[in-house]
Symmetry: D2
Subunit: 349 residues, 4 copies
């Protein structure tokens, strides 16, 4: 049961059916969880913006860098061209190369892409090296391919799965989390979903409760504790947004992270990748030269409800990752505990 | 009495003496409050990074654009050169020209600046046009000069003063707010102060309490309500920071704004101007060609405590502005109420 | 006679009718030239993207900062919202406040703008303080208004006029220059125009001839010579471009400046403001909430011819400003010579 | 013989000893050239900022994106932290994953890095798919390691080598090029070097001669010709520059590219990576918490000579790549001719 089911609420907008990124029609998510022996605690998560050939039917997209201490691949092309042409793959810091190679091979091998010679793989990461033998680079190209191919719609498993298998958040076991919002019809009726890979620190706050302080886990409690770490945030919406307004939307996701007590510490790699699944905005790889692109997009003035939605959904997705994660033991016998959720529910009442 | 005195706490770090931007040694603040007749409700606030000739002894600085629907003057030069060469002036949207002219004249007329032919005035604004006859452009160049010259150290008046005279925040009366943090010696012992001009909307949250929802004032409650508006945030610190790390610091101030429920709505002009008063980092206007600049700056790795400090101080400064502001009537008989602070204190207990 | 008439060619694309920014249908340009007594040598230039109420019918726009040592007003709002809502006004560095106030008053007073309370004036500048008594701030708000109102289509006067009255370029008299390109129908048939205010230095090159070196005027010839200064570049096109592609276009204008030998020296304020006049892309101030914006825009893949056009037109506009300018004497009896154009034509043959 | 030896000059500043990036003390360059069978025409080039453990002794660095249609890895961390912690590796577009994995493994395996769990590999690329079977991904991780390990100081081989083996530039055979500038002692005496991987198009101009037009190879001559492609530019200097000033320096390299007739076409991935080798600016991986960084850096005001230097060296490095490259036949029997250098020398006289 997530925090919402247990009575904690996050803002004022309603969620979608699954309270997941997959509430945005067409989105598919795949996880590969790799727990082997005493020290392999890692994985891969793939998010597909639609079910077709993404390279041939690119989606408008933007990336916002919350804090750039990270290795996210594919940033500049998304920013320059305003589109995304591959699945988004998340994994651990030292497996980005495998992530890229897998994504490139997936793209080259799709029917219709036989002549393609250039692919911009978007691969994010956080560092699971506390529990995982990250230097062992245990993710293979084939596993990345497999993850992409296994992606499906419907409910999304959260917690110690996929790229969140070995992550740590606010000193507790982190992982994958997701949440969504559905705007009322009067505000457009659009759906927006967020998926996060949580591996960062700060001063945890849940539903307004200063959980970090009450539990005695907060930054700088003593000189030894660290709040470093990273958060990958993927935002999908069916609202018809231009790349510029997707960038503005992405920027607000960091405000949702802030509400959980995150501080984007020096060592954090905090990135937001946002895209629109609106069918009318697909960017075909091949088009007749000189042919104009006809698009219908939301006006600047109508963006504010989506800004609220992404803030709420990001906050909830992060807390969801903590509620779903379980205690894990890993590399060198180190153990990261599950957040004591019952206590928090108690306090919240 | 501010929220802190009434028992609400914001984070874990202690404040400075005044819980104000002026806790950073050398900082001076001046206010000019203009309340005249039924419809003039505006003013000017000036922040001076040090007591000397700022043009001759520039300070390292950065500006971060939270949302750029605003008219802040002086942005690109601060970003390009990494320094600030004038006082920072805040006023209303349509008085930016007066703000620039006043700041330029102030600078040209300082002893030692007789040959100066180029001045980069940094002038911020929010739109007080709900209560104020903003189209009347009631701020004069002389009033800007006067505000700069009246700036002083010590406690800072908050609420309906200076550039915050006519502002509105979360549907309640906003204004000027300030707060500070002092890092423990083990983390460097630095002081960081924030001053805000609050004129924005969202879903107000105070000390974790969903105040906006409980009071029935939150965005999109009905189609008529707006959450637009702006927030100017000025961050000062005596920590010796490079311009790059000042930019990173500035970026985090928006995370403090997020914790109050701000959403950086489409129509917001949300800007953060951050500078360091560290004496060793002053940038002399005149220097011998080829002479290297010798500086001592904080390493990236030591930035995180300051990130936490700016988040906490920004959150508190915004809430301080609301607690200090009083009900005001203005243009066209419109009235904006004071935040019902007693109720909030009640809830918080 | 310009360099083109004298036989120098700049690239491969044909010009428009006037070889001026006004070749883009709808563009109007106004100049106010202020030469008074021994030391006033300054002025104002206004560029209007169309003949209507620009605030009510905004145009897609972008600003690129080549080097940010300058005081250009209005930058962040153009970048955030992707549009321009006022005429562009150019003047001298210390008259930016007058430029803003004039532009704001012009906008507030237009029929239909009676309720407007926020205007983002875009005002650029270069520093004419070598020949002009710039500290005297000799441009009035009324003169700015007058310049805007006097703007007209058709041929554009170049050289010592408007905002270029007192400028210096590569050590010779600079000023206002303009040029245009018309793409062949097979590449879209679009027109692109550039207007520049030239006040910068470097190693002058014209039509490939190293003019600076041959005439003994180039940077660092001796330790005393400076190459500082600025260049404002305004780019207009009727090609239907998104704000993102306008930003990419703007970025290329600096490549045209590079071909004249400009080096964007430390003290340069080099800015490019680009906008599209395509009627289908106008952004109405008032629109029904939730109504989508229907647009037809050029695809990324079709941008390259426009990139070439803006590089060629910027190079030519800068050289045109030098050919059109005449020797001028100003403040303190200082004199700046006209470029010896005959010699250059000779060399070019 | 390069263009300089044949009498073409590029600007006014003198070169270093080798007219190569290795004129900057400490820089090493390695090439791996892979020409196999009929269709493998690719390679790797590695640039090492110094001879020690770069991860432990990072160098101040910046990356500027000229046009972001490319897959450069490592961008955001360099921009966020202002430093470079690995060799720079250049290769082909689809071998970036191999480049990253090789660079990461190189770093993990250096003595002293046994505990390192996070490495920001900077890997650039251009697309050699016209002559090379790029979809075959013929670069292995081992070959990347080998290239890094083989890097050496002294003269640098240019033309069809390393990452330039299969590239095409302005319709002629491109490749690797390099050049340097040494400032006079009165301007600081610093050395700056540039290395380029040329694979782009435009309207070629050499020493002011419109070579593209005279040889009938220029963009849009007919609808079939393309000018797409990319240019990787690496800039090294021993001048003690802050990361901010390195970014400004990087930005100017694109102005050197402009002087060769490059237009940064839509499909270009044009990136500039700049770093300083000044020993006093090394950033140690491990430092005592709270300890300030003591640095001596060049003042903004003294940057201009370096701006000129990087423009000149980039222009010359690109032309050097063309003069050094030789006719090559590759994939599918396609052939790219050597630039007819004799004709150009003739014209230039």
């Amino acid at each position: 049961q997530g925090p919402r089911e247990l009575g904690i609420h996050f803002g004022i907008l309603p969620t979608g059916t699954y309270n997941a990124i997959t509430d945005v029609p067409g989105i598919k998510v795949g996880h590969l969880t790799k727990i082997e022996g005493n020290s392999i605690r890692t994985g891969v998560t793939a998010i597909l913006p639609h079910g077709g050939n993404i390279f041939q039917q690119k989606v408008p997209a933007a990336i916002y860098v919350g804090n750039g201490f990270g290795k996210l691949a594919g940033v500049t092309q998304v920013q320059e061209l305003g589109n995304l042409e591959t699945p988004i793959v998340l994994t651990n810091t030292l497996s980005v190369a495998a992530g890229i190679e897998g994504t490139v091979k997936y793209s080259l091998n799709l029917p219709g892409n036989e002549q393609v010679q250039s692919v911009n793989a978007v691969v994010g990461e956080t560092n699971d090296g506390y529990l995982n033998d990250i230097r062992g680079m245990h993710i293979s190209v084939e596993e990345v391919l497999e993850t992409i191919q296994s992606a499906k719609s419907g409910p999304v498993t959260q917690g110690n799965v996929g790229a969140g298998t070995g992550t740590v958040c606010f000193g507790w076991k982190g992982g994958i989390g997701t949440s969504s919002r559905k705007l009322p019809e009067s505000l457009g009726g659009y759906t927006l979903g967020v998926l996060v890979q949580t591996n960062f620190g700060g001063n945890l706050q849940i539903g307004g409760i200063p959980v970090g302080e009450r539990l005695g886990k907060y930054p700088f409690k003593d000189a030894l504790e660290k709040s470093d770490g990273s958060c990958m945030i993927v935002v999908a919406t069916d609202a018809p947004l231009s790349d510029r307004n997707l960038e503005r939307l992405a920027k607000r996701a960091m405000m949702g992270l802030a509400k959980t007590g995150g501080i984007a510490s020096n060592g954090s790699g905090d990135y937001v990748i946002a895209f629109s699944t609106a069918e009318g905005l697909r960017i075909p790889y091949s088009a007749k030269s000189g042919e104009l692109m006809q698009t219908e997009t939301l006006r600047n003035d109508d963006m504010t409800p989506l800004f609220l939605a992404v803030i709420e959904a990001t906050e909830e997705a992060i807390i969801n990752s903590l509620f779903a994660a379980e205690t894990m033991e890993g590399k060198g016998g180190k153990k990261v505990e599950k957040l004591p959720t019952e206590k928090i529910i108690e306090w919240y009442k």
